[in-house]
Amino acid sequence: MITAPLVAAAYSVAAAAEEEEVNPLLPHTYDIVWSLVIVVIIAVVFIKYALPKFQAVLDERTEKIEGGLQHAEAAQAEAAELRAEYEQQLADARTEAARIKEAARAEGGAIVTELKAKAAAEAARTVETAQRQIEAERQQAAVSLRNDVGALATELASKIVGESLEDSARQSRVVDRFLEELEANATATTSAGKEN
C-alpha cells in the first residue's frame, strides 16, 4: 500500500500532538515578549524611517514630473507667444511696405502733375509773351500806318485842293498820280528801311 506510510505519518502527528502537553493556541511568555519586541522594531523602522523616505522620493518624483510638464507648457506658451509676435511683426512689415509703395506712387503722381502744370504754365507764358509782342508790333504798325495814312491823306487833300478837280478824267489822273507817288514812296520807304 502506498498510503501506508502517509497514514502512519498522520497517526504519528496525532500521537505527537497527544504526547506533547502544548496547546498551540496558548502563547508562551517568551513568544509574546519577542513578538512584541520584533513588531515594535519593525513598526518604528518602517513608520519612522523607511516609508517616509520612500514617500519623500515619490513626492519628489511627482513634483519633478509635474514641474517638467509645467515647464514644457510654459515653453510651449512662450513659443506660441513668440510666433504670434513674429507673425504680427511680419504683418506690420507687410502693411508698412504696402503703405510705402502707396505713398511712393502718390508722390510720383504728384510730381508728374506738378511737372505737367509747370510745363503748361511755361507754355502759357510763352504764348502770352508772343501775343504781347505781336500786339505791340501791331500797335506800332497801326500807329505808323495811321501816321502815314494821315500824312498821305493830307498830301492827297492838298493836291486835290491845289489842282481843282474839274472832271472825272482829271480826277482819276490825280488819283492815279497819287497812287503812283504812294507806290514810289512805299518803295522808297522799303529801300530806305532796307538800307537802315
Binding site: P5, L6, A8, E19, P27, H28, Y30, A43
Partner: protein
Amino acid sequence: MFHPPSLADFFPPAIWFEGTPFEINRIILVRLIAVVALMLIFIIGARRAKLVPGRFQSILEMGLDFCRNSIAYEILGEKDGKKYVPIITTIFFAVFFFNITGVIPFLNIAGTSVIGLPIIFALWVYFLYLWQGVKKFGVGGYLKHSLFPPGVPWPIYILLTPVEALQVFLLRPATLVIRLLANMMAGHLLLALCFAATSFLFFEASGALKAFGAVTFVAGFAFFLLEVFVAALQAYVFSILTAVYLQMSISEEH
C-alpha cells in the same frame, strides 16, 4: 526511522535564556533573522532611494504601491486611506516576511506559525481600529455606531447587537490570529510531512516503495509553491482586513 512533523516543531528547545521571558529558541531566531532581512532590505532601499529608481528600488516601490493603492486606497478611499498607508504597509511586509520564512531553506518554519506573533499583530489592529473609532465618534458614539447599525427596526437589535459586539470585540481579532496561525502551521506540517516521507521512502523504504518517494517529492514541490502563494495571500488578507476593520470603524455609514 520516519520522522513525521509534530506540534513539537513549533516549540523547540530553548537555545538561550531558558526559563526567562527572553528565552530564545529556534523559532524566535528565525523571526529575528526575518526582521534583520526586512530591516536591511528596507533601510538600504530607503537610503538608496533615488528619483529614477533602479531595479531593486522598482521592486520595493511596486510592493509599496500595491499596499497603498490596492489595499489602503481601495478599501478606505484616498482621503482616509492616506493616514493608514504606513501601518497597513508595515503589517503587510512584516506578515509576509514572517510567513515566507516557512519556505526558505534552513529556516523552514514560518515566524507566524507560533501564536505569539499573530497575537501581537492582531492586537495592534484591534486597538488601532477601536482607538480610531473612539477618536472619531467618542466612546458612546463609537459603540452606538458599531453595535446599533442604523436603518434596522429596533427589535432586531436584540439579536443584532450581541452579534455585533461579539464581532467587534472578540471575533475580529480572534479570527485574525487563528486564520494566520492555522494557515502557517498547516503549511509547515504539510511541507514537512511531504519531505519527511520523501526522505524516508528514498533512503529507508525497501524495493518498489522507493519509487513512491518521487510522488511525495513532487507533492512537496507543489506544496512548496503553494506555501509561497499562501505566505503572500495571508499577508494580503491580514492587511486588507486591517483596512476593512478601520473602514468599518471610521466610516459614517455602514
